[in-house]
């Protein structure tokens, strides 16, 4: 063994870089190509397109002057509040329907009808009821996020190990203890996945509502720049929204790994 090791060493490929740069090749190439195309075909004062370097300047400006910060907080705030409301309602309903077949029979058709309703379809009514502002955005996000959490939560609860429910019976555990000691903890990893999916949806819905109707947040910022015929600003918003969405999902995945990483392997 000791002798074989030095022999093997030279055969190994060059030491890998600490960060793999290959995933960045494609975006860089696209940006480079766009810059060249813009240089050739897009006038500097175009009202419809902008060169990457113009977008970068706008991006930097809004990053520094707090535009991004303020608008991101508005959007994320509405998305999170809506998610908290819709997620909790969906979770409560999902757990109940997962436990009670009768309750599920009564509600399943209603759920199937309401679930696929596009969130944008709610905007007119929501405006009518709540007017412009935070409340109507929260309401729409909440309505949209109820369903994924309800459906996945219901499935997670239904898949509680039947043997554990028998253990609970033998121990004569109360309904509340069965719920809090066995059903919910067993379902938690999957409930978290449901919340992560719902969070991504919440962000999409928030931005959409802002673009379509609500004068606040990142969506409205983008809408304003487009109406002011400032493509560089609109593009900069777009890039920022992509970064926010990606970062948001990353954080959720990291939290999930931290909480359940070691467990999911031996749990199921």
């Amino acid at each position: 063994m000791n002798q074989a090791a030095p022999l093997r060493q030279p055969i190994r490929a060059a030491r890998p870089l600490p960060v793999d740069l290959r995933p960045f090749l494609l975006p860089l190439a696209v940006v480079g190509l766009a810059e060249v195309m813009a240089l050739l075909f897009v006038p500097a004062d175009s009202f419809s397109l902008a060169a990457p370097h113009q977008i970068a300047v706008e991006f930097a400006r809004m990053l520094v002057d707090g535009t991004f910060l303020v608008r991101t907080l508005e959007t994320l705030g509405a998305a999170m509040a809506g998610l908290a409301l819709g997620g909790l309602l969906g979770l409560a309903a999902g757990v109940m329907l997962g436990l009670s077949e009768a309750a599920d029979k009564v509600t399943s058709m209603t759920v199937e009808v309401l679930r696929p309703m596009p969130p944008t379809a709610l905007i007119p009514l929501s405006l009518l009821v709540f007017g412009f502002g935070l409340t109507m955005e929260i309401a729409i996000v909440a309505f949209t996020t109820i369903w994924p959490v309800l459906v996945l939560g219901r499935a997670a609860v239904r898949e509680t190990e039947p043997r554990l429910m028998e253990v609970a019976k033998v121990l004569r555990m109360s309904f509340f203890r069965r719920l809090t000691r066995i059903v919910i903890p067993g379902a938690i990893p999957r409930i978290f996945v449901a919340f992560r999916l719902a969070a991504a949806i919440a962000l999409i819905v928030s931005v959409t509502v802002e673009i379509v109707a609500n004068p606040r947040g990142l969506g409205y910022g983008m809408m304003l720049s487009s109406q002011a015929l400032r493509p560089a600003t609109a593009f900069a918003f777009l890039v920022w929204i992509a970064i926010v969405g990606w970062g948001f999902n990353r954080v959720l995945i990291l939290v999930e790994r931290h909480l359940f990483g070691g467990l999911q392997g031996d749990a199921r």
């Binding site: 043997r163 253990v167 033998v170 749990a267």
Partner: protein
């Protein structure tokens, strides 16, 4: 005789199929009764009826003179599939705590009780391990420890060692025997291993298949304490083994 368990004319039919038919078994306090029979004859079903997890179609099961209608905390059940019967997200200690909490043991007594129960089953060093980090034998020990937290007068075991290797199985057989002797528990032990039944039982009840009926009862006249070597070489053991094997063979061959 101080009767703890009494099956009287117990029958069970599911969807028109007779699964158990006219079962009559009396079990005295502190007795260790092993139930054997071919696969599918209704051993597990019988145990579930006794546990109050299912109800017979007719007849009655009495526990200390009262009919069984629901599970009772002084009747503990050791399931064969220990992997499914433990909370995978809790440590060994946490799994025992589940039973202590259900028994309404005051929280400040938990640590001492948990330590004692872990030690009883030889798990004193494994309190912080999750079931997924434990061997099959350790998991089954943990399930037994959790059952002991109920301080049961009656322990029901459904092929508890069926999934374990031979050596672990023998160790656990001796531990359960010692435990039963020390606590005076009544044990209702389902197994398909005839030698295990003779080794452990004061009495072996052999069931017939379809429908499940008590075919014959074998009193086991072997000295206590039992020993894996000398008991299994005892002339009475060999004789019983011969009788039981030929009985089962004849019974199912028909």
């Amino acid at each position: 005789m101080d009767r703890v368990i009494q099956f009287s004319n117990v029958s069970l039919a599911i969807g028109g199929r007779h699964i158990l038919d006219d079962i009559n078994i009396d079990i005295a306090r502190g007795e260790f009764v092993a139930i054997v029979g071919p696969s599918g004859c209704g051993k597990t079903t019988l145990l579930r009826l006794l546990a109050g997890l299912a109800a017979p179609s007719s007849g009655e099961i009495l526990l200390d003179g009262t009919p069984v209608r629901a599970p009772r905390q002084d009747v503990a059940v050791v399931f064969q599939d220990y992997g499914k019967a433990l909370l995978p997200w809790r440590t060994a200690s946490g799994n025992i705590a589940l039973a202590l909490e259900a028994m309404n043991v005051p929280r400040d007594q938990w640590p001492a009780r948990i330590a004692e129960l872990l030690a009883t089953m030889g798990l004193e060093r494994d309190g912080d391990k999750r079931p997924g980090e434990m061997s099959g034998g350790m998991q089954q020990r943990l399930q037994i420890a959790r059952c002991l937290a109920q301080q049961p007068g009656v322990l029901l075991m459904d092929e508890p060692f069926g999934a374990l290797d031979a050596i672990t199985r023998q160790l656990l057989q001796d531990e359960v025997l010692a435990l039963a002797e020390r606590t005076g528990m009544t044990v209702f032990f389902v197994t398909h291993d005839l030698e295990e039944a003779i080794y452990l039982g004061n009495r072996v009840v052999a069931l017939n298949a379809s429908p499940g009926r008590v075919a014959r009862t074998f009193p086991i006249d072997l000295p206590h304490p039992r020993d894996q070597l000398s008991t299994r070489e005892h002339p009475t053991f060999l004789e019983l083994r011969h009788d039981l094997f030929s009985f089962i063979k004849g019974g199912t061959g028909k």
